[in-house]
């Protein structure tokens, strides 16, 4: 394995941070401020793109920033695994910053400077998590994401907003301080290092650590990264729905929840390692455990009439796909899980973008009020339809690749129960997504309110959601771009 010291990693990390500083400084002039956001997003994305070639050639890029104590450093690393997340986070930030311009201006939201600055810092955290070389760096940026998204959740500063934000903080800091912190320190005490190894198999534990202790640490990590939305630590996520929709899109599709699953899977594969996890039989029980989350969250989603709430529970369910895939510990299972980080991101952000566009255009939040709206907003609901097909896992759209790989992984692991979970979940997905699109296009508008004067939201919103929907199709038909990274991870 070739290792290269590369300062571009630091640039990719600093670009969002510098962006947020410029946003704060230019807050008085909205046009300049939003250009700063957009420029930072484009710069970040370009730097990340520029790293792909070397990583795909099999190199691992490093950059050491600070040494804290022996064995604990702040070091960046770009390998195939981190590239999957860094690419989607930086790419979707470009889309989201254009979209949020349209959304925030369309609704004349207050405190847009704070909003944009915190948004950029959250991406800074997400990029940091993606590029972290050790548990400590990952924990640092994980916490930065928690803190920087708090003002975003509380954005409306009303009772509901504070309630949601309080719950958000309560869940995320309690789990981070109560489970992750002791887990990290114990790993350090037991092994003397927090650095991730180069491959997914070896892990960092040597044979002489008691298996009960390793199992306990594993459980701490699984629930400690509460951003992964595994039940029962998922409650923060629906609570955070009070945020403006671009935040929900960021929170529930890209930065926050993906940081959660990325950290979880990074820990499973690079701290514990496939060998240790198989030896201690941690994989399959985890798969069944998150299988419960997949089914339960889908059932709850069925009962929600508020579109964003339904999407939130759909996210809870879909995140567990990623963990389930990795927990199978078979090559196809791990590929399915990891590639779903990308597939879910593009599809789910489309769905949230659509929900926001519908809200800006009509101020409607509930699905039951959207009958017949599709004919007035064909692009928005068309994109919604494509993205929901991807969630369901229909061939030709991104989600299918995931389902295919996951089913293959399940068969490799000989776990029939998991197949039942996956099939049941697919049916439930159809159950809660199909009616939305169907009613929007074929339902009758209410008699008293024939949607006169309603049209598509502004171009700044419609174009990004069409693009993300389009990308969902492209990576469904040509999945190789992300699959190459996944193959490199499995090695």
């Amino acid at each position: 394995m070739e290792t290269i010291i590369c300062s571009r990693l630091l640039l990719a990390l600093l670009a969002p941070l510098v962006g947020s500083i410029f946003v704060m400084l230019t807050g008085k002039n909205p046009n300049v401020r939003e250009s700063c956001s957009l420029v930072a997003a484009v710069v970040t994305f370009s730097i990340v793109i520029s790293l792909t070639g070397q990583v795909l050639d099999g190199a691992q890029l490093y950059y050491n920033i600070f040494n804290i104590v022996p064995g604990v450093t702040i070091t960046l690393r770009a390998d195939a695994f981190s590239m999957i997340f860094a690419l989607i986070a930086s790419c979707l930030w470009v889309g989201a910053s254009i979209y949020s311009m349209g959304y925030m201006r369309g609704l004349h939201e207050h405190a847009q400077t704070r909003f944009n600055a915190c948004f950029a810092i959250a991406i800074f955290g997400a990029i940091g998590v993606a590029f972290s070389d050790n548990f400590f760096t990952m924990y640092l940026f994980y916490e930065i994401v928690s803190v920087s998204t708090y003002p975003l959740v509380a954005h409306h500063e009303d009772e509901e907003g504070f309630e949601g934000a309080k719950k958000y903080m309560l869940y995320l800091t309690t789990t981070a301080k109560g489970l992750l912190l002791p887990a990290m320190i114990l790993i350090y005490v037991l092994t003397g290092t927090l650095d991730f190894p180069h491959d997914i198999y070896s892990g960092i534990f040597s044979g002489d650590v008691s298996s009960a202790l390793v199992t306990m640490l594993y459980i701490f990590c699984l629930f400690g990264f509460a951003k992964n939305g595994v039940m029962p630590v998922h409650h923060w996520l629906p609570g955070a729905m009070v945020a403006p929709t671009p935040v929900s899109a960021l929170l529930h599709a890209v930065a926050v929840v993906k940081v959660g699953v990325f950290c979880t899977t990074r820990t499973m594969l690079y701290v514990f390692g496939v060998d240790t996890m198989s030896a201690l039989n941690l994989g399959i029980p985890t798969a069944y455990f998150v299988g419960f989350t997949i089914i339960m969250a889908s059932v709850i989603a069925l009962s929600k009439d508020n579109l964003k709430a339904r999407l939130a529970y759909s996210t809870v369910s879909q995140l567990s796909y990623i963990i389930l895939g990795v927990a199978l510990l078979t090559p196809a299972g791990i590929s399915g899980g990891l590639v779903h980080i990308a597939n879910h991101a593009f599809s789910k952000i489309t769905l949230f973008f659509c929900a926001g566009a519908i809200y800006v255009a009509t101020h409607k939040k509930n699905i039951s009020d959207m009958h017949g709206l599709g004919r007035k907003m064909p692009f928005t609901f068309g994109a919604f339809a494509i993205a929901s097909l991807s969630m369901i896992g229909v061939p030709g759209v991104a989600g299918f690749i995931t389902k295919w790989q996951l089913l293959m992984g399940t068969l490799q692991a000989h776990e029939l129960g998991i197949i039942v979970i996956l099939l049941a979940s697919t049916l439930l997905n159809v159950g809660y997504f199909a009616p939305v699109t169907f009613k929007a296009f074929f339902g009758k508008p209410p008699e008293d309110e024939p949607y006169t004067g309603i049209q598509e939201a502004s171009m700044a919103m419609v174009i990004p959601l069409c693009i993300t929907a389009f990308v969902s199709v492209v990576i469904g038909i040509y999945p190789d771009f992300f699959m190459n990274f996944v193959k490199a991870v499995i090695g």
């Binding site: 920033i65 109560g178 320190i185």
Partner: protein
């Protein structure tokens, strides 16, 4: 004097001790309040600059006491003027000299009456505090230890808030009660050591376990009150709430460290066997302090009380680190002493600045001020994050090392401290939520001026410096901590018979 590396040439430590004192004497004859402020700032800055060669000239590869000075003082009682610093006291001396100019700046407009007397008290305070950290003769140490009491008492009793009399008397009585026990222990050691007050010579002696336990308990009471450890902490919130800003900062940043410094300098090396016997109980008191401080801080509506109770929790972490008796724990504890000085000092300065504007310390009176005081709130947010041990800030490194030491000592005890870390996040985020968001804001308030920014900015630098690159701070303590652990483990085999020994204590 084999424990001392004598200082060649310029007597740096003596200068550091006497410069503020001479400054205070000259201040007596200076007219005018403005001049008094300028002069005190000048003197404290000069002391800070003068202390810098201590760091650059310090040899981190030896555990011996450096910059040593030795003069006979009262030969008939064998009391000497012996000074020296090692890796444990170096950073504390630097913290003291560094924090004092900020205290003067922080009281610039806060103190309106008897400015000159206030500054004189502060300068005398500085002399005594530096002296305590560098004294290597127990009589000298005790004199300086007591000397701190009077200016601190005056700071609270004259310039304090509405309940200043109650708070100052309580502070005085508690601390004096501890000091009396300290004096008894010192005299007992004096008699046992052929009438010598030399602290380094008292270490590593062959005292009986019973003697050690009594001495340890006497030390422990004095230092535990100073730290303060649960359950002898009750003087602290009262004193903090009533003290003026500079008083709170001195109290939190330096005075509390005297207690933990005492544990490290005296309890561990002089009475190692007793440390092994009684230390485990102190671990539980530390845990109790961590949890109790956190829970009580969560219930406060007064910002100063909140920070005061958070201090009880933070100092609980420090004593936890000390009594796990391993390298990570003790180094973490020393670093956390510095961190607490930086962060809590900064928080008290912040609250003082707010108090000058609103004359209130209630959280609810300051809701939503982020809109009106963005610079202030940025500082407050960063210091609050540092206080809750956010990664990449100073306190995280200290807490990490302490917990690493605790986990390698005993996983259950370390696990019991974790709720304290959660509580720290809870009360600090609660404070921040009010200050940042809830409420209408206060358009009548002005943001920080240049003097106030200059007061807080240096502390901000240290928050991130220690948080991201702690090596310059850690390097100086390695040898001394190794030596200390050797000293405390020298007689470990005796400790295994500890239960019998405890039974023998009447």
């Amino acid at each position: 004097m084999d424990f001392l590396i004598m200082n060649e040439g310029f007597p740096l430590l003596s200068c550091l001790i006497f410069l503020p004192l001479v400054g205070a004497l000259i201040l007596l004859f200076l007219p005018g309040e403005g001049l008094a402020r300028m002069w005190s700032l000048l003197v404290t800055l000069a002391t800070a600059v003068l202390s810098f060669p201590l760091y650059t000239g310090f040899d981190p590869n030896t555990a011996l006491y450096q910059f040593g000075e030795h003069k006979e003082w009262i030969p008939s009682l064998n009391i000497n003027y012996t000074l020296g610093i090692d890796g444990i006291s170096l950073l504390l001396v630097l913290l003291t000299t560094f924090i004092m100019p900020l205290c003067v700046l922080g009281s610039w407009t806060y103190i309106q009456k008897r400015v000159k007397e206030f500054m004189i008290s502060l300068l005398i305070m500085e002399t005594a505090m530096i002296g305590v950290f560098v004294a290597l003769d127990f009589a000298l140490f005790y004199i300086l230890w007591e000397a701190m009491l009077i200016p601190m008492y005056l700071l609270i009793a004259v310039w304090g808030g509405p309940r200043k009399t109650y708070a100052s008397i309580k502070f005085f009585l508690y601390t004096l009660a501890g000091s009396v026990m300290l004096l008894v222990a010192i005299i007992a050691l004096y008699l046992h050591n052929d009438y010598s007050f030399s602290i380094p010579q008292m270490m590593g002696q062959d005292y009986s376990l019973t003697f050690q336990i009594w001495v340890f308990l006497a030390f422990c009471l004095a230092f535990a009150i100073k730290v303060p450890m649960f359950p002898v902490h009750t003087w602290l919130p009262a004193a903090h709430v009533e003290a003026p800003t500079a008083g709170s900062v001195v109290l939190a940043s330096v005075l509390l460290k005297m207690g933990t410094y005492g544990f490290l300098r005296f309890c561990l090396p002089i009475t190692p066997e007793a440390t092994h016997v009684i230390g485990p109980y102190l671990l539980f008191l530390s845990i109790a302090g961590i949890i109790y401080g956190g829970l009580t801080a969560l219930a406060q509506s007064d910002m100063k009380k909140l920070v005061a109770y958070s201090s009880v929790g933070h100092m609980g972490f420090v004593t936890l680190g000390i009594f796990v008796l391993n390298k990570n724990g003790i180094e973490g504890a020393i670093l956390q002493m510095i961190n607490h000085g930086v962060t809590t000092g900064a928080l008290f300065l912040c609250i003082g600045m707010l108090y000058e504007r609103t004359h209130s310390r209630e959280i609810s009176d300051h809701s939503g001020i982020a809109k009106n005081l963005p610079i202030f709130v940025t500082f407050l947010t960063i210091f609050s994050l540092s206080s809750l041990a956010f990664p990449a800030t100073n306190s995280f490194v200290g807490e990490f090392l302490i917990l690493a030491g605790a986990f390698s000592h005993n996983k259950i005890i370390a696990g019991m401290a974790i709720p304290g870390a959660i509580l720290a996040a809870a009360y600090m985020f609660r404070l921040l939520q009010y200050v940042l968001f809830k409420g209408p804001g206060r358009p009548d308030l002005a943001d920080l001026n240049m003097r106030e920014i200059a007061t807080l900015a240096p502390l901000l630098v240290f928050v991130f410096w220690i948080g991201l690159a702690p090596e310059p701070f850690m390097n100086v303590m390695h040898s001394s901590v190794d030596h200390l652990i050797e000293q405390v483990n020298l007689v470990k085999h005796v400790a295994e018979s500890a239960p019998i020994a405890i039974a023998m204590v009447p």
